[in-house]
């Protein structure tokens, strides 16, 4: 399922040539529309890797969970710290679980 872009929040990364989601997408799927807002140009090719969701500086992108994993209420939301990602996982019954991971890469 493709990432959903909140068109009110997305500022097209200030109309620079490549917004962050475009730079980070491994499939080169995200791009800016004519209105200066980001969108996924080939939804079927998206792997749900969530790179764009993590990268968006204004929190405008949400990854929709594939229906095999959870119906539309289900959500998986990352919160990026300086060196951690904290995940909030909401299942179809509204049950919330949270996980924290410390990045294993270089610290600085």
């Amino acid at each position: 399922m493709p990432p959903k872009v909140d068109r009110e929040k997305c500022d097209g990364c200030k109309a620079q040539q490549e917004p962050l989601c475009e730079q980070v997408c491994p499939g080169d799927l995200m791009t800016l529309g004519e209105d200066g807002k980001a969108y996924c140009r080939m939804p079927r090719d998206c792997w749900d890797c969530m790179s764009c969701t993590k990268a968006c500086p204004v929190g405008a992108i949400e990854t929709r969970i594939p229906y095999q994993l959870g119906y539309h209420v289900a959500k998986l939301i990352p919160l990026m710290g300086t060196n951690t990602i904290t995940w909030t996982c909401i299942d179809i019954n509204g049950k919330v679980e949270r996980f924290r991971y410390v990045n294993r890469g270089r610290l600085d």
């Binding site: 962050l20 919160l79 710290g81 300086t82 919330v96």
Partner: protein
């Protein structure tokens, strides 16, 4: 870092024994002595007393530790003294850190001793976490030019030049006209002393001509500027004068033979009646003031193939084929004094300007007054034309009332039987000018009518004007006939200001004037090393312009000393993380970022004011201030996450702007205003420094609430840091809502420096609400 020098020396100064009474210091020290990286840990007597520093210097010599953490209520001055003293013992000033337990409320007697003890430990551990990551830094010295560029040779520009030339600085004075003097040179008299402005300007000019330090660039414009304070590279274009400045001796033979006369009237005005004598030849002396002494040719007016002046010139100075020239300068600072233009009064239709020949502006009136002709018998003055008016200029130009009073006074001196009517809404005669107003009110033949003319019509064929006015004081309608109507129009920023704003990247306010911190640093523009003086900043009179010019010169002086010392707290961009999204470039309030050769945004050290807004804005956390890195911050937050108040009590982490909010908070604790003990705070250079990743860190580590305190809108020391962080925390709140976390856990408040009571109240409320919300769900 090599072995011993990375160890920390921790010293506790228990000033007045307050700390010892509040907590068990021995227990605290025992706990801390086991902490990571501690090389020495002890209580010291007053370190500022003679010999009080000896335990520290001895430890440094023995190599027990290489960085110092002071615990105690050190004031900023005391910190500075310690920095200097220990620098003598070989300790880098940036390897010291201070931790004041008192200002964080550890001595608050109403809190349970256990909690106080734990809070003290957490606070010292936060400071320790930061101290471990401190790096030795040295100020950067960048070589700087010793000359200065002044744009605009009006009264402000000339006086700034005089000041700087006197101080031995090389001055480049750029003027778009053929001569110096600006608007003031075209005035007849100026208040309060009613002397001829040329006298005052001449005085300044004499000082400059005698000095070798000043170079005049007339008919020139700035075309590009790059670099930063200390090292600006400026390009000028000099339009052709068609007369050699070296050869022309100003004899005036050329003017006598020139066949073209150019009328000198305001733009868009067809009146010649009162101004008819005022024409110049196409080749004329430099204007507004005849300096430089060389003549100038207005080629646009020359008839084709006319070479009369060329033939007449005895010193063969005329060169009709001259081309524009380019010039490059290197200067340390720039003073912008581009002045004002009169508001175009043809936009104000109701008073007949442009339609009737005897409706003129107050600038034209200066010319009428300076001519030798007898002034007309009855004259009307209309105040606030186009000023304080939503349709035109919303502001008061502050000088027009005094200008009219001055003109009336001079008119009455010249022609005592003349009758003047002044139509006004309010007479604004600030300060001593009130005296002039009172005097004129008493004068015979001067009538002040409170009300604006509703219609202005010609009266038959007499050439006079008939005005219909409602006198709002008596409530009656009056009809008045005048020979001449003078409109007091307002000031707008000159066209050159607009042009220059683009070239220098200088922000302007909604009215078109250059932005500055109008109160404490009125001459400082929002670009480092560029100063604004005179009417391009706000409407002001001649005296205020001169003052502001002199002040701007003083402000510019530090960058003209051959080198500029930059504090080593500037931002650095981590190139392995940065993906060139350019947000820092967009949002930097001072436009200090540029692209380096690899295309990475890099701060220009000369332009940067080290506010840290770039740190806050970076979506990847790739930018750090050198003495306040993201890593140091993250470590501090991690240390803060230990719960010290007991399991059920919420913990609040506050990021306080060190300019205002920090002092408010400090005062609130000191005066016992009831700040809840649940609060820990961290000082930041500007609220805009707080990156969303830091807030996320705090929440993810189990801190229950995060509060960011910045200045009131419009009071931010760094223009808009408070607005930037508020926008970002709004984005974060939306995200938290989605994550089923109360978005109210992150909040933003505006605090002024005296808002201690507000701070305490906000905190009490926040803690209460957090209790109601329950614990942070991230406490995993």
């Amino acid at each position: 870092m090599d072995g011993p020098s990375s160890k920390i020396g921790l010293f506790v100064w228990d000033q007045g024994g307050r700390l010892g009474r509040a907590i068990d210091l021995a227990f605290l020290l025992e706990n801390l002595s086991r902490a990571k990286g501690i090389g020495h840990c002890s209580i010291v007597e007053d370190p500022l007393a003679p010999g009080g520093l000896s335990p520290v210097t001895e430890g440094l010599e023995k190599g027990e530790f290489g960085r110092v953490l002071w615990v105690g209520p050190f004031s900023l001055e005391q910190q500075e003294v310690l920095r200097q003293q220990l620098a003598k013992a070989g300790l880098n000033p940036f390897l010291q850190e201070w931790c004041d337990l008192e200002e964080q409320g550890v001595c608050d007697g109403e809190v349970d001793q256990e909690a106080r003890q734990r809070k003290a430990l957490v606070l010292v551990q936060m400071a320790l976490a930061r101290t471990r990551l401190l790096e030795p830094l040295v100020p950067v010295e960048i070589p700087a030019s010793q000359s200065v560029l002044i744009v605009g040779a009006g009264v402000a520009g000339l006086h700034a030049a005089v000041s700087l030339a006197r101080l031995g600085k090389r001055v480049h004075l750029v003027e778009k006209e053929s001569g110096v003097g600006g608007k003031v040179a075209s005035l007849h008299r100026f208040y309060p002393r009613l002397c001829d402005p040329l006298c005052g300007l001449e005085f300044a000019l004499q000082a400059l001509i005698g000095s070798e330090m000043v170079e005049f660039h007339t008919l020139s414009r700035v075309t590009s500027v790059d670099g930063g304070r200390g090292n600006f590279h400026v390009r000028l274009t000099k339009a052709p004068r068609y007369v050699s400045e070296d050869r022309c001796n100003g004899c005036g033979e050329c003017s006598r033979v020139c066949p073209v006369a150019i009328p000198l009237t305001s733009e868009g005005h067809r009146s010649k009646e009162y101004l008819h004598a005022l024409t110049v030849r196409a080749i004329h002396p430099a204007s507004p003031m005849p300096f430089p002494s060389a003549y100038v040719i207005e080629r646009a007016y020359c008839p084709p193939d006319c070479e009369e002046c060329l033939k007449a010139c005895p010193s063969s100075a005329v060169n009709l084929e001259q081309e524009p020239r380019e010039l490059e300068l290197s200067v340390g600072a720039i003073i912008v004094a581009t002045g004002w233009d009169p508001y175009p009064l043809n936009r104000v239709e109701e008073f007949g300007y442009g339609a009737y020949p005897n409706v003129i502006t107050n600038l034209d009136m200066e010319r009428v007054l300076s001519s030798n002709n007898r002034p007309p018998r009855t004259i009307g003055f209309v105040q606030c034309v186009g000023s304080r008016d939503d349709r035109h200029l919303p502001y008061c130009s502050s000088v027009c009332c005094s200008v009219t009073l001055k003109q009336v006074l001079y008119l009455k001196q010249k022609a005592p039987d003349a009758h003047c009517y002044v139509f006004y809404q309010d007479i604004r005669s600030p300060g001593f000018q009130e005296e002039l107003y009172q005097k004129l009110k008493e004068t015979e033949g001067v009538t002040f009518v409170r009300g604006m003319p509703s219609t202005v019509r010609p009266h038959g064929d007499t050439g006079r004007l008939r005005l219909r006015v409602e006198d709002t004081l008596s409530g009656r309608e009056v009809n008045i006939e005048v020979d001449l109507l003078v409109l007091a129009g307002g000031m707008i920023p000159s066209r050159e200001s607009e042009e220059l704003a683009g070239i220098l990247g200088l922000p302007r306010n909604s009215l078109g004037f250059f932005e500055s911190h109008l109160q404490c640093h009125p001459e400082e523009s929002q670009r480092s090393g560029i100063y604004v003086a005179g009417c391009c900043r706000e409407p002001m009179n001649v005296a205020a312009s001169i003052e502001s010019a002199r002040h701007a010169a003083m402000e510019a002086l530090p960058f003209l000393n051959g080198s500029v010392l930059i504090k080593p707290m500037y931002p650095v961009v981590d190139k392995t993380k940065c993906d060139k999204c350019k947000r820092c470039m967009e949002e930097c309030p001072f436009g200090s970022f540029y692209f380096d050769e690899d295309g990475f945004p890099t701060p220009h050290l000369g332009r940067c004011r080290q506010c840290g807004n770039c740190v806050g804005i970076c979506p990847l956390g790739a930018i750090s201030l050198r003495h306040l890195t993201m890593k140091q911050m993250a470590a501090q937050i991690q240390a803060a996450s230990a719960s010290f108040m007991g399991k059920e009590e919420p913990t609040v982490l506050a990021f306080l702007c060190q300019n205002d909010a920090y002092w408010a908070a400090r005062e609130a604790v000191k005066r016992g205003m009831g700040v809840p003990p649940n609060v820990l705070f961290i000082k930041v250079p500007c609220a805009g420094y707080v990156n969303n990743a830091l807030i996320a860190d705090a929440l993810a580590l189990g801190i229950d609430g995060v509060l960011i305190a910045g200045c009131e809108d419009g009071q931010c020391h760094y223009v808009k840091g408070n607005q930037l962080v508020r926008k970002r925390s709004d984005d974060l709140s939306d995200k938290l809502r989605k994550m089923m976390i109360e978005p109210d856990r992150v909040r933003f408040v505006n605090l002024e420096i005296r808002d201690s009571a507000k701070y305490a109240k906000v905190m009490r409320l926040f803690v209460q609400e957090l209790k109601a919300m329950g614990l942070n769900p991230f406490k995993i």
